[in-house]
């Protein structure tokens, strides 16, 4: 099944520069409906108010981290099947294992290239 390039995507990061970079890279890949949140709490409120097709989230944010957001998404009946990609500088085995156990769909280490982002999104969403 073809990927809907108009599906809403939520990107979550506390650095405005990263939000701009990811938004621009997604635009370049052809995705057009992109919303932003600056931490897990902000993201969760947005996820409850609109149907998204994908979340791309940083880990290290306050007050709610990306990992906590992932746990809350997976614990919510209405959100638990939402594709969730972690994009983070946290590169310890413990982090990857915790995210995997919590149900992350993919995990990208910062700094990353446009090619890596594209490849991981294809793994999660299918070819586009």
């Amino acid at each position: 099944m073809a990927v809907d390039m108009k599906m809403p995507i939520l990107i979550v990061d506390d650095y405005k520069t990263m939000l701009r970079i990811v938004r621009n890279l997604l635009n370049k890949l052809g995705f057009t409906e992109i919303d932003e949140a600056t931490d897990g709490t902000d993201a969760l409120a947005k996820l409850k108010g609109k149907k998204y097709g994908l979340v791309i989230s940083d880990w290290n944010m306050q007050p709610m981290t990306g990992y906590e957001l992932l746990q809350k998404v997976r614990a919510d009946d209405g959100l638990k099947s939402l594709p969730f990609v972690m994009v983070t500088a946290e590169s310890k085995v413990e982090n990857v294992m915790a995210a995997r156990q919590a149900g992350v769909n993919n995990y990208i280490i910062k700094p990353f290239s446009a090619e890596v982002l594209k490849a991981k999104l294809k793994t999660v969403l299918g070819d586009f």
């Binding site: 990061d13 650095y15 520069t17 990263m18 701009r20 970079i21 621009n24 890279l25 370049k28 880990w59 290290n60 981290t65 990992y67 500088a89 946290e90 590169s91 310890k92 085995v93 413990e94 982090n95 990857v96 294992m97 915790a98 995997r100 992350v104 993919n106 995990y107 990208i108 280490i109 910062k110 700094p111 990353f112 290239s113 446009a114 890596v116």
Partner: protein, 168 residues
């Protein structure tokens, strides 16, 4: 009489020396929070390393951006299709290089945290309060960017996610 005066001076000097030693020991005790290995090795040394790495990351990012801009300034626009591709590639390079702001920002947060701890300890010392000993580093999932050589590569992450074993 003269001998008695000498003894008094010696006694006074001895007492002053003892007072000085007490003051120094007292000060050292107050500084213990900053002198312990958990602070010096884990926090201070890490802060120094984070700052060095941040400077290198900034240099590398600026170099990457300038190289992309120099490349774009030499594009021959007589072939508009090829020129368009080169401009898009240059923009992509600049976009990726800008990730440095996030990495450097996280590293500087670590340095700021350590400086804040030193400032707090010195302020307590100035006020005559005993500083709390530095707490040993806790196992945490919030560590920020790894230092060079300690980071796990994307390939290793992919293997871990796929159920295999990652290698740092």
């Amino acid at each position: 009489m003269a001998a008695e005066g000498k003894f008094e001076r010696i006694e006074r000097l001895t007492n002053e020396c003892i007072d000085m030693c007490r003051t120094m020991l007292h000060g050292r005790k107050h500084l213990e929070a900053l002198l312990g290995p958990s602070f010096r090795t884990h926090k201070l040394q890490r802060a120094v390393n984070e700052q060095k790495v941040a400077v290198k990351e900034m240099e590398a990012a600026v170099d990457r951006i300038l190289t992309a801009v120099e490349g774009m300034s030499e594009i021959d626009f007589s072939d508009t299709a090829a020129a368009g591709e080169k401009v898009a590639a240059g923009c992509g390079e600049i976009m990726e290089a800008c990730c440095f702001q996030d990495m450097v920002g996280q590293r500087m947060s670590q340095v700021n945290g350590t400086l804040a701890e030193i400032e707090s300890t010195l302020a307590k010392l100035a006020e005559g309060q005993a500083a709390q000993p530095a707490s040993p580093p806790q196992e945490s999932l919030l560590n920020g960017p790894a230092l060079p050589g300690a980071a796990m590569e994307q390939d290793a992450v992919d293997r871990l996610l796929a159920g295999g074993k990652g290698k740092r």
